[in-house]
């Protein structure tokens, strides 16, 4: 219902410091940049972030010094380089980092989404990652055996973030969402959240959703807030809507190399803009957005 349509500002205001936020981007695809920017503007602190494969949204939040803990499988900016702000924070011990694997995150979210408090997995065993996790995060995983076969497993604790944020191409005002292209861990991540916020490129009438209900990856009754923001993922891509902005990603890849330059970037592009529309103007406005707009057949 229309009352789910909210501005990113009011949604972020409702999220307390110290929250566990699950982010839905993958490297440079479908990052909720508009959400990350607003979290930085409102200086929400002491956050825990979880994600399968981190990208720019997480690098921004860690670079802004708002994150105290990450639970992740991996991350990068693809050919635009590593997630340097995050790697710096890991190198210096500035954040607690629970590093596992893509499937471990997906299984953890799946358990959370299903309401089961743990799930067995055969990844991580016999690795140094496992050794570190067993000592650093006994509340996240532990060894166990199958009661039927006796096989050794890693038991992963179900992950239930305080807020899950997913950036989608299409949603209706009730929060029914479609995702074009691969969905990585989005369905489980979304449904694992105690609260669920979606950012959508296109807002469509429910009539449109009812034409092909098998496409609804996230059913609206689970969604608390729908943020409608075209180009809300810029400079990352949204398949079917627009390509990643290589120029801006190259620029970011320069700025995030040092804390000083990163701060400049934040001052200029985040604190220096009142909202996402102002940000979009700053990074090239209509002309640039038209350049990266997806071609109908290819979707990029």
């Amino acid at each position: 219902m229309p009352d789910k349509l909210k501005s990113v500002a009011e949604v972020v205001r409702s999220i307390p410091d110290g929250s566990h936020i699950a982010l839905g981007g993958f490297a440079i695809a479908r990052n909720a940049i508009v959400f990350a920017h607003e979290v930085i503007r409102q200086q929400k602190k002491n956050l825990t972030l979880s994600q399968g494969v981190m990208g720019m949204e997480t690098d921004l939040l860690v670079g802004a010094g708002l994150v105290s803990k990450i639970i992740v499988g991996g991350g990068s900016l693809d050919r635009f380089g590593p997630v340097r702000c995050i790697n710096r924070a890991r190198d210096t011990g500035a954040i607690v980092h629970i590093d596992s694997s893509s499937l471990s995150l997906a299984f953890g979210y799946l358990a959370g989404a299903l309401g089961i408090s743990f799930i067995p997995i055969k990844s991580l065993l016999a690795s140094e990652m496992m050794e570190r996790l067993e000592t650093a995060a006994p509340d996240y995983l532990r060894r166990g055996k199958c009661p039927f076969t006796g096989e050794e497993f890693v038991f992963l604790r179900g992950i239930t973030p305080d807020v899950s944020v997913v950036h989608v191409p299409i949603a209706d005002p009730n929060g029914n969402c479609w995702i074009h292209g691969p969905r990585w861990e989005n369905e489980e991540q979304a449904k694992a959240g105690k609260r669920l916020v979606v950012v959508t490129e296109e807002l469509v009438p429910t009539e449109y959703i009812q034409r092909e209900p098998e496409r609804t990856v996230i059913p609206g009754h689970r969604v608390e807030a729908v943020i409608h923001q075209p180009f809300g993922a810029h400079p990352t891509s949204v398949f079917g809507c627009y390509d990643y902005d290589a120029d801006h990603l190259k620029l970011y890849a320069e700025y995030h190399k040092t804390p000083e330059k990163m701060n400049e970037y934040l001052q200029n592009y985040v604190f220096g803009t009142r909202d996402h529309w102002e940000y979009l103007e700053k990074v090239g406005g209509l002309r640039r957005m038209n350049e990266i707009k997806a071609e109908a057949i290819f979707g990029y």
């Binding site: 190198d91 990844s123 016999a126 691969p182």
Partner: protein, 264 residues
């Protein structure tokens, strides 16, 4: 110095690159009808080559949730929409890494990494200098593939630091300390091949340590040993990695990667 046949010398002379030899060797590691989990770059190119030659029914999966893509443009990474094109299924981790890899139906898993050691253990995550850690991207699906694929093929550039006695940080287990996969509690078959720009290594020996399968044409044993961080048993005569056939070269250069995005 290994002896190279006249034909090989001629073809090498004709400028076959190390990348072309690597990608062809990788393509030969997959069989028709198999399912492979690939990353972007050489493994993806190798699978395209395999599908165009001896393995038309090869299925390729990207962990992100893409099956049997047929991109017409070069992708810059796993998250690049270009790689999604003309797939037959778009799903997610739970399908690709869960209901396929974890289910045990993935025959071959290609992984890369910062380091691979003599037991085929891979480090995807960090380097150490005087005890200080420098983090890179992390495992993502790397640990899952190394743990669960029936055959793991590691693709890495050759070099003493890339192939050390022991990895600085064991993120993706091979035959840890020479132990069997069963002893390690792992389901997957473990490392099968390490394909570099100098040679192909294998683990088909009782000690479960890397041994030379074949050396690329034009490489000398001295070069190989100098660039390998662990002892390597060299059979004699030294088997030489087959060069790409004329058709394989044509496909690679004219159809698969004309822009030389991956095959520099």
């Amino acid at each position: 110095m290994a002896s190279i046949s006249a034909e090989l010398q001629e073809q090498t002379a004709s400028g076959v690159t190390a990348s072309e030899i690597m990608v062809t060797a990788a393509a030969h590691e997959v069989r028709d009808g198999e399912t492979a989990v690939v990353g972007i770059g050489l493994p993806q190119v190798a699978c395209v080559l395999a599908r165009m030659t001896h393995a038309p029914r090869l299925s390729t999966l990207l962990e992100i949730g893409v099956a049997n893509m047929s991109p017409v443009d070069i992708a810059v990474g796993l998250a690049d929409s270009r790689i999604f094109y003309r797939a037959t299924c778009w799903s997610g981790f739970l399908d690709t890494l869960g209901m396929n890899l974890h289910r045990g139906v993935v025959d071959v898993g290609f992984i890369g990494g910062l380091e691979v050691d003599r037991f085929g253990n891979v480090n995807t995550t960090l380097t150490k200098e005087h005890g200080k850690e420098h983090w890179f991207n992390g495992s993502a699906g790397g640990n899952d593939v190394a743990s669960l694929a029936n055959r793991v093929v590691v693709i890495v550039r050759h070099g003493k630091r890339k192939l050390p006695e022991a990895v600085a940080y064991l993120t993706s287990p091979g035959f840890v300390n020479g132990r069997s996969r069963q002893e390690l509690g792992l389901r997957g078959g473990g490392p099968h091949r390490v394909i570099t720009d100098m040679a192909v290594l294998g683990f088909d020996n009782p000690s479960r340590t890397a041994s030379l399968v074949s050396m690329h044409p034009g490489i000398t044993v001295e070069q190989l040993l100098d660039n390998t961080g662990f002892p390597l048993e060299i059979p004699s005569p030294v088997p030489i990695t087959p060069l790409p056939s004329k058709e394989e070269l044509r496909l690679l250069r004219e159809e698969i990667d004309p822009g030389k995005m991956y095959l520099r």
